[in-house]
Symmetry: C2
Subunit: 600 residues, 2 copies
Amino acid sequence: MATFKAPTRDIKFVINEVLDFPSHYAALPCGEDATPDMIDAILTECAKFCEEVLSPLNQVGDQQGCTFDNGKVTTPEGFKEAYDQWIAGGWQGLSHPAEYGGQGLPVSLGLLKSELVGTANWAWGMYPGLSLGAMNTLYVHGTDEQKMRYLPKLTSAEWTGTMCLTEAHCGSDLGQMRTRAVPNEDGSYALTGTKIFISSGEHDLTYNIVHIVLARTPNAPEGTKGISLFIVPKFHIDEDGEMGDFNNVSCGSIEHKMGIHGNATAVINFDGSKGYMLGAENDGLACMFTFMNTARVGTAIQGVAASELAYQNSVPYAMDRYSMRSLSGHKNPDKPGDAIIHHPDVRRMLLTQKAFAEGGRAMLYDAARQADIMMYGNSEEDRANADNLLGFVTPILKAFLTETGIESANYGMQVYGGHGYIGEHGMEQIVRDARISTLYEGTTGIQAMDLLGRKVILDGLKLYRSFSKRLYSYGFSILFKRGRSKYGRKLLAHTFRWNRLCIGLLIRASRNRDAVGAGSYDFLMISGYITMAFFWARMADTALEKLKQNPEDRAFYEAKLETAEFFFERLLPRAIGHAEAMRGSVGSMMDMPLDHFNVR
Amino acid sequence: MATFKAPTRDIKFVINEVLDFPSHYAALPCGEDATPDMIDAILTECAKFCEEVLSPLNQVGDQQGCTFDNGKVTTPEGFKEAYDQWIAGGWQGLSHPAEYGGQGLPVSLGLLKSELVGTANWAWGMYPGLSLGAMNTLYVHGTDEQKMRYLPKLTSAEWTGTMCLTEAHCGSDLGQMRTRAVPNEDGSYALTGTKIFISSGEHDLTYNIVHIVLARTPNAPEGTKGISLFIVPKFHIDEDGEMGDFNNVSCGSIEHKMGIHGNATAVINFDGSKGYMLGAENDGLACMFTFMNTARVGTAIQGVAASELAYQNSVPYAMDRYSMRSLSGHKNPDKPGDAIIHHPDVRRMLLTQKAFAEGGRAMLYDAARQADIMMYGNSEEDRANADNLLGFVTPILKAFLTETGIESANYGMQVYGGHGYIGEHGMEQIVRDARISTLYEGTTGIQAMDLLGRKVILDGLKLYRSFSKRLYSYGFSILFKRGRSKYGRKLLAHTFRWNRLCIGLLIRASRNRDAVGAGSYDFLMISGYITMAFFWARMADTALEKLKQNPEDRAFYEAKLETAEFFFERLLPRAIGHAEAMRGSVGSMMDMPLDHFNVR
């Protein structure tokens, strides 16, 4: 069984040493309580809960899965008890406003919690995780009355929330949605339709579930311009906040999936269910993006979680499994073979996992820092800049970190050899659980088009330029600093090549619009490697600095430098392969007529 | 559910048109019966069996899996009936000697059968597949008496066979094996020990199972030099071929695996079980390689099978799923969105699957052609050359085709979006089933070391040179031919770069032996892309030729050319990324001290 140990030292390195959260928090209106001591206390308590309560339920959850019987969903053994502890600990509202019962800490501290929970037990973490999306959407778009009615119980975790978007015939193309919302006389709406793939859609953890649902009002314009957003509780809530009758929100079935068995992926039927409009009519898609961005960054966490958990469980196996002899001389002469960690290819896999986990973590926490500023920044300009920057990196985080997370998870199996394929070790579960991450909340292909099509090209390269300027200026700043110059050089060279690719693509796209789609996946992966290089350079920079100040922590900083070296020497060069593939002709992808696909 | 349609046109293209099997067979002593008509008949019948009998059992097999109860294993519903049809059809002995009841056809025709069976239902196919390994080992190393006793029933498929190598503490490092074989007075041996991960190790398809077992005799030298090979039937066979008493070969349990649920992966206990030595004492590992090579090429088939099945099932979905609009203008204006096959990134995934399936198929059948010559070639020199060439490409086939097969399978899920994660469509099963292929029969890392360490470096580059000479001379031969020159140019450029890398690596390795392991994975992947480029160039060459001769088959040949174009433009460039990664320092992989892996 895979076990989990919270990487607290590494998280503290990223937030306190690399990204300087203490001064960041000091400048935030909601940051005064987020002192290093407070963060330490949260980290310690959360780590304890995740290591002792959630992690032991991870394999149980996979093996038992959720069961469906006549509309009722039962979660795996222990899930409800863990959830009750979650409520008792007040974890749900950690970074939500005090006026609804939260602790009012910065949103970036919520990431810390989500990372630990998600790494320990992703399937369980999706119950509170989906609630967060519903809470954020309500918080941003709800009326005061709606907030007062729903947010306190969601913040306390006594209820959970979901997001109901997908229908059987439409996943990402929400314009095709058919669920209808017909106005009632009292100002509410009667919703009728079937939603699928609703994560945490039905369960036995809480009595009520607040669904946030996309639907069309009568005579709404076609396509995405005619979608509105609704609050549809499973049980009615009256004005006093008391729970009332069943609202005809029923679970039709749950899916049999490759992984995340502990989370119920439900078919939810609305049958004249009473709903309340959230935000303006026909403005649902825009409102939805509040949730989507939360969800996409949330899914990016899953990538880091997979890299982290796979790494943690690969290392001890690689140290304890003795097989074959090292080519460079016996390492364990008293054993029948050398520990496989001495074999270069095993190290390649371990260091890849480590570089992706830690590099991805830095990318995530930097994004969370921007999210703090977007929410609570001191000026309109600061907030807008942070929002833009976050919008730009979101598809990179979502797609690149999940793709690399799946790679790390697969290396976990690979390190175990045939044992990795057997259920009991838990390594194949990491792969199965992680495998959803490049599919939901917009596939890698969708993210790639969002990045290249919308955020780069439609934006006229404005955001792209300001993002790459950040890399250039950092690259130049370390170019002549001892021990950093090689990283500066590589970062600059790759960023420069990336810029040229981008210009080349613009020229191509002016002749053939399919050039955008044809290059989007490779462009996204290149963007991911370069963004991660930026953070690895910064981590190396910090580690070199701290090595002088804290010699007692030498091993930690040296390991950081060694991993940075591996990233720059062995992983960053992959960007060149993607660039070469991206240069391939668009015709080679688009010219084959449809009927040729089947002539075999 | 994933369905299977035998790619007969494509197989015929490869064997008849690209590799010219008709004249190859005409030159073989056993090839006279292998006329194009005969091959056609086999292909048609085998396709029918695979499409109608095996393919419908593929999902059932996954869902039911094998069940274990008190030593007995029950295979999924329908598996036994299908196996009875297999026996009745005489399929097992297709390419085995007539003197033991086979049809005596060339071994390459066996590949054709294995490919179709494996693509339709890999888990089922492993029952007859493992038997093939046992049969080949017996055929090459058995005494006449042993062959007469065991081969006829294995050839008729009335019995199955297995290969028992792995023990709990030793997978690939067979020198650590502990199962003991103590001589009996009658010349036989009493075997005692426990083997794990025995595919098809126990089942209800046949009454008897012939295990080929690696074990140590008393006083055998330590390590791999002290291993001998034994025949250990589950039930004794007397001199008249009659089946006798139980031989104390029992199944302790079966594994719960990520995939291939329909195949029983058994723990097999030998408890004083009577065994008969196969080949010379302490020569077991060498004898075992007969099986290993069969098994490794057999596993390479699994890669092509995964690419093929994923492709076949991705295309119709991509044609029928309407989502989003194409950037280059509406393609299905009467639908709510365009079919996703019009989106470049979906095409990228489909064409990648297609290029890997068809390119891999050509690589496999060319290897099978060499296997024919190795077995039945007219001169000692021909046979030795073929054996060497096959030895060289085996790790490339095994590792590269399985890695790319898993990539194709994952693209299958990706094309389906969220639906790919749901069991009913069968796409996630392809991933789970294929995932074992880079683990068993030597992981990708083991294959990479076999290629670079043994077949390239220890061999002093002799085989490597003769292999790359083949690529050079072909590249030059098409360099000035209309329509082929671009492929010739790219093939030559990549081969030249590959050669330089290889020399660079030799220099590095002379200073640091870990350079071999550090570069082995990337070297293997580069070797795979270049080898596949060689075959895609040949297929394009043939397609251009045939386009003139058979204009009625225009669509087929054009599709072939379009896929070749995609491979050269978009997939071959990946080799450059691997080459760049391979240039990274060895120290970045090897210098991190062990304790630094855990400082977090």
